[in-house]
């Protein structure tokens, strides 16, 4: 390629996630690397929040990203952003780990006040915007009645099933379902419009 052509060739880091995923589907490791760098922080944070320990969070993120690398063709842009897709896979993997019983103290993972935290650096405008979005979501969650917030947190971050939550809280399963539903409805109202995950 000539110097002129090279000058016009966009860097991988300039490409949108959706375009990078097309390259990942063609087994381009450097494109995958960019995808990892963009989203591993959010994935690791979620896995750490759910599992409560670095070793399990690492296992979850490694498995999630390897499955993304090996099945990149399954990404469907009509169903949401790459970030949402990756975080969904990470969430499923973390639930697998939690339900396989590998994490001994699940209550810890689902509680507030995890002792060990490693703040990610804010390096770009996008990350600052994400931080603001996180605060908005956190605010919406914290603004829920305590029993609704608790049900949502135990389910989403704790990986517990609705039956397990009902047993833990000593309430009928229908009550748990109702609390989760009401909580999500309220959050939906506060987050809209628009409630999109940043690219």
């Amino acid at each position: 390629m000539s110097d002129r052509a090279a000058a016009y060739r966009p860097s991988l880091r300039d490409l949108a996630d959706e375009d990078l995923m097309q390259l990942v589907q063609r087994a381009q490791a450097s494109a995958f690397e960019v995808v990892y760098d963009r989203h591993a922080g959010a994935a690791f944070s979620l896995a750490y929040r759910m599992c409560g320990a670095r070793q399990f969070a690492e296992e979850v993120v490694q498995e999630a990203f390897l499955s993304i690398w090996r099945s990149g063709a399954r990404y469907d842009r009509s169903r949401g952003s790459v970030r949402t897709w990756i975080l969904g896979i990470t969430h499923h993997r973390a639930i697998d780990v939690l339900r396989r019983g590998l994490v001994q103290d699940r209550h810890r993972a689902s509680d507030e006040g995890i002792e060990e935290r490693f703040e990610a650096e804010e390096r770009t405008d996008v990350e600052v915007a994400r931080r603001e979005e996180a605060l908005e979501v956190r605010g919406a969650l914290d603004g829920l009645p305590q029993e609704q917030r608790r049900a949502i947190e135990l389910a989403y971050y704790g990986g517990f099933t609705q039956s397990e939550i009902a047993e833990m809280l000593g309430v009928p399963i229908g009550t748990v379902k109702g609390r989760m539903r009401l909580g999500m409805e309220k959050m939906r109202g506060q987050l809209a419009p628009p409630a999109e995950v940043l690219p």
């Binding site: 087994a27 490791a29 690397e33 990892y36 591993a40 922080g41 959010a42 690791f44 944070s45 979620l46 750490y48 929040r49 670095r54 070793q55 399990f56 969070a57 690492e58 296992e59 993120v61 490694q62 990203f65 390897l66 090996r70 949401g80 975080l87 969904g88 969430h91 639930i95 590998l102 995890i114 935290r117 703040e119 990610a120 650096e121 994400r130 931080r131 996180a134 979501v137 956190r138 969650l141 949502i152 389910a155 989403y156 971050y157 990986g159 517990f160 099933t161 609705q162 379902k177 109702g178 989760m180 539903r181 909580g183 999500m184 959050m187 939906r188 987050l191 809209a192 409630a195 995950v197």
Partner: protein, 244 residues
């Protein structure tokens, strides 16, 4: 607005991942017939999608990135070496296994190619060392002897990955017209090799792979050229022989 469905409250449980596997499958089946619940799922999915953002940020360790990218680069290089065929879907009919490079199989072969003749810890399973849990896949490869008269440039490798054995060949001529390559297993103590369903041909470049049945208790893996459809007893001398 249409009438509320009796499963409406399950929408939140579904989106939050709070259904057990059986419940989730049932609800997903229900979604195929209930437009109201599908609308609900679409409406509330936004909340589930942003919940990951509400967690305290925690930076992933650099070692995790290094480990992951080592694996990814290794797999990418072998996939590229395999060419476009690496992404071909696997044929539906097992007995006509042919240049069958499904991507996972190509990856399995990739791992095998990287660890010729040796055992390596690489991927699935948990091995904790120090502060880090590493996912490890046990991969063992066995290089087979290929008869130089039948295939002067031929190579053959048995890849044992998570207990699943695959034969990977390169540089083989196409089977003679009306014939197919057949894999045989010589079990310990047996006088004659047993036939298998593992029949294969090779690509125009001479490469191919085939999944093998369990090789537990097997002393050697052999390959012969047999009439189309395979034989119950070898009709020609094995030209590939892998001692396990």
């Amino acid at each position: 607005m249409s009438e509320r469905c009796q499963h409406a409250d399950t929408v939140a449980s579904y989106l939050l991942g709070a259904l057990a596997d059986g419940e989730r499958r049932e609800f997903e089946a229900h979604l195929t017939t209930c437009a109201r619940c599908r609308e609900d799922v679409a409406h509330l999915r936004v909340v589930a999608d942003v919940l990951p953002l509400a967690v305290p940020p925690v930076a992933p360790p650099v070692q995790l990135r290094d480990r992951l990218m080592d694996t990814v680069r290794a797999e990418a290089s072998v996939l590229h070496a395999a060419g476009p065929a690496a992404d071909r879907p696997r044929p539906a009919r097992r007995r006509r296994l042919v240049p069958a490079f499904s991507r996972p199989l190509a990856l399995a072969g990739a791992l095998g190619a990287l660890v010729l003749g040796g055992a390596v810890g690489f991927g699935i399973g948990n091995s904790t060392s120090g502060d880090h849990t590493r996912t490890v896949v046990q991969v063992r490869t066995v290089r087979a002897v290929v008869d130089a008269a039948a295939a002067p440039r031929g190579t053959a490798l048995i890849v044992l990955r998570d207990g699943v054995a695959t034969l990977r060949v390169t540089g083989l001529p196409a089977p003679p017209r009306g014939k197919v390559y057949e894999v045989w297993l010589l079990r310990r103590g047996a006088a004659a090799p047993s036939p298998t369903d593992a029949l294969f041909s090779v690509s125009t470049r001479g490469s191919g792979r085939v999944a093998l049945p369990s090789v537990s208790g097997v002393e050697a893996v052999l390959v012969t050229a047999e009439p189309d459809g395979g034989s119950n007893a070898p009709t020609s001398q094995p030209f590939i022989n892998a001692s396990l």
